[in-house]
Assembly symmetry: C3
Homo-oligomer: 207 residues x 3
C-alpha cells in the first residue's frame, strides 16, 4: 500500500515532466504521450529487466497505465498554467527521483541483493527515465547538467543503509531517504551547487 502510493506519485511526477519536455519540442499528441510513458516507466523497466522481474511491473498493473495517460491529459489541458510555473517545474522531476530511488532500493532488498547494488538500482530507477526522455528529445541528459542529480540519488540511497543502524521502521527509513534525495537536489539547484570536476588541465587531445 505504502509503496504502491509513492510509486504512483513518482509516476505522475515523471509523466508530467515528460509531457512538458515533449510539448516544448513541438511533438504531436501521440508523441507527447509516448515521451510521458518513457519518462515514467523507463527507470523501472531497466530495473525490472536487470533483476529479472518479468513481464515488467507496469505491464502487470494497469493502474500505472491509467495514471500515466491521465497525467498526460491533465498536463496537456493545463499546459498554459503549467508553463507559467516553468521556473519551478523541475520540482516534478525532483520529486520523481526521490520517490523512484526509494522504489529501486526496495526492489533490490526484495531480491536479496547487496546494499551497494540496491543503491545502484535506486539510482538507475530514478535517472534512466529522465535520461531516455532527454536523449529522445535531443536535450542534454539530466545527469550531465551542472547541478547535482545522480549524486543526490546515490547519497540518498547510502543514507538509507546508514540510518538503518539507528532506525528500525522501514517506512520511516524510506521516507527519510526519499527526502534526502529531494532536499539535496533542491539545495543544489537553488544555490547552483555542483561538485568540483576532476579535470586537471586544459589539453583536450583525443586518444
Amino acid at each position: 500500500m505504502f509503496f504502491q502510493t509513492i510509486d504512483i506519485l513518482g509516476t505522475i511526477a515523471f509523466a508530467i515532466s515528460g509531457v512538458l519536455v515533449a510539448m516544448n519540442k513541438r511533438m504531436d499528441p501521440f508523441g507527447v504521450l509516448i515521451i510521458a510513458f518513457v519518462t515514467a516507466v523507463g527507470g523501472g523497466t531497466l530495473r525490472d529487466i536487470m533483476v529479472g522481474v518479468e513481464p515488467v511491473s507496469w505491464m502487470r498493473n494497469m493502474t500505472f497505465v491509467y495514471v500515466i495517460i491521465g497525467s498526460a491529459i491533465f498536463a496537456v489541458i493545463f499546459r498554459n498554467y503549467l508553463k507559467h510555473l516553468r521556473r519551478s517545474l523541475f520540482l516534478f522531476d525532483t520529486i520523481g527521483i526521490g520517490l523512484y530511488t526509494v522504489i529501486g532500493i526496495e526492489t533490490g532488498l526484495v531480491a536479496g541483493l547487496h546494499p551497494i547494488i540496491c543503491v545502484a538500482l535506486g539510482t538507475m530507477t530514478a535517472c534512466f527515465g529522465g535520461v531516455t526522455r532527454d536523449i529522445l528529445c535531443n536535450e542534454i541528459p539530466v545527469i550531465f547538467r551542472k547541478e547535482i542529480y545522480a549524486t543526490a540519488c546515490i547519497v540518498g540511497g547510502l543514507s538509507y543503509f546508514l540510518m538503518r543502524f539507528f532506525l528500525k521502521d522501514e517506512n520511516y527509513l524510506f521516507v527519510i531517504a526519499g527526502l534526502v534525495v529531494i532536499v539535496i537536489r533542491l539545495i543544489a539547484v537553488r544555490f547552483q551547487i555542483s561538485l568540483p570536476s576532476l579535470y586537471t588541465s586544459e589539453d583536450s587531445d583525443k586518444q
Copy 2:
C-alpha cells in the same frame, strides 16, 4: 506458420532499411551488417526482454539470422538499383512497422496482457529498431520526423481490438491491423499529414 511468415517479411524489410541508412553513412561492410541486425531485431529484442521471453526470439531461431545476413548481402549487391528507388524506399520501413506492430500485439496476447499493453508492445516492436538505427547512425529518430509514425502503430493496434468485436478470425484481424498501420503511414507521408503540435507559445525558456 502465418506469424512466422510475416515476421520474416518484416525482418527483411527492416534489414534492408538498415543497410540503406548505414551505407548512406559510409560505414564499412561489418558496420552495415550490424546496423541491419540492430534495425531488424531491435524492436523484437526490447519486446522479448520486457515480457520475459529469453533467450530472445532471434537467438533461438537461426532463420532470422540467415534472413538478415541474406537481406544485407542482397541490399549491398543491388545498392545502385536500390539507390535510384530512394524516394520510395521508405516503403520498406513502412511495411516493417505494419508487420512488427502485429507481431508485438500477438506476443502480448500470448502472455495474457491487457489490450492497452499489447498495443504498447506492438508500437515498441515496430518503432524501437528504427529508433536505435537512427540514434546509432546519428540521424533524427524516425519518431521525431514530421509525418505520423508511432501514431500509425498505435491506431493500427487499437483497430485490432476494436475490430475484434465484429470479426472472429484472428488471421484476418492481424492482416487488417497491419494494413491500417501501413495505409496511415503511406497517406501521412504522401500528403505530408502530421498531427498538430501541442506547443502554444514562442517562449523557449529552459527550466
Copy 3:
C-alpha cells in the same frame, strides 16, 4: 577461475577507459564513477538480459563492484600520470574488447546457442559498454570511428569457432581468440587501416 580472472581484467580495463572519457568531459566524481560503471558492465548487462541470466552477473558478484570502484579511484588518483599516456590509452579499451568478446562467446556456449549467435553475443558484450559510454558522454560512438572496432570482435569470434576444428583445449582457444581481437584492433589503429565503405556516389538525398 580462468574466466573469472579475464572477466576482472576486462572490467578494470573498461572502468579505467570510462574514467578517462568522463574526466575529459569535466564530470564530477560521482559522474565519473557512473560512467566507469556503465562502461564496465554495459556490455555484460545487455548480454545477460538477452540470454535471460537474471539478476545480471555483476549484481550477484560484489567482486565486480569493488573492482570497478577500486579502478575508478586508482584512475582518478593517477589521472595526471595516465593523461601523459593518453596517446596509448586506447590500449585499455582494446584489451577490454578482446577479453569481453571471449566472455560473451562463453555465455552463448553455456546457454547452448548457435556459433553465429555466440559471435554476436561476444561482439555485443565487447562493444555495448563503450557505445553507451560514448553516447552518454556525447562522443562519436566507438563503432563509428574510422578504424576497425566491431569488425575485430566479429573476426576474433569467428576465429574461435574455426580454430575449434584443430584445437581442443578451450582455454587456449579463448586466449587465442582474445588475442586475435586485440591484435587486429592494434594493427588497425597503428596503421590507420579501415575497411572500404560501401557508399557509391555523392548524392545524399534523404528518403
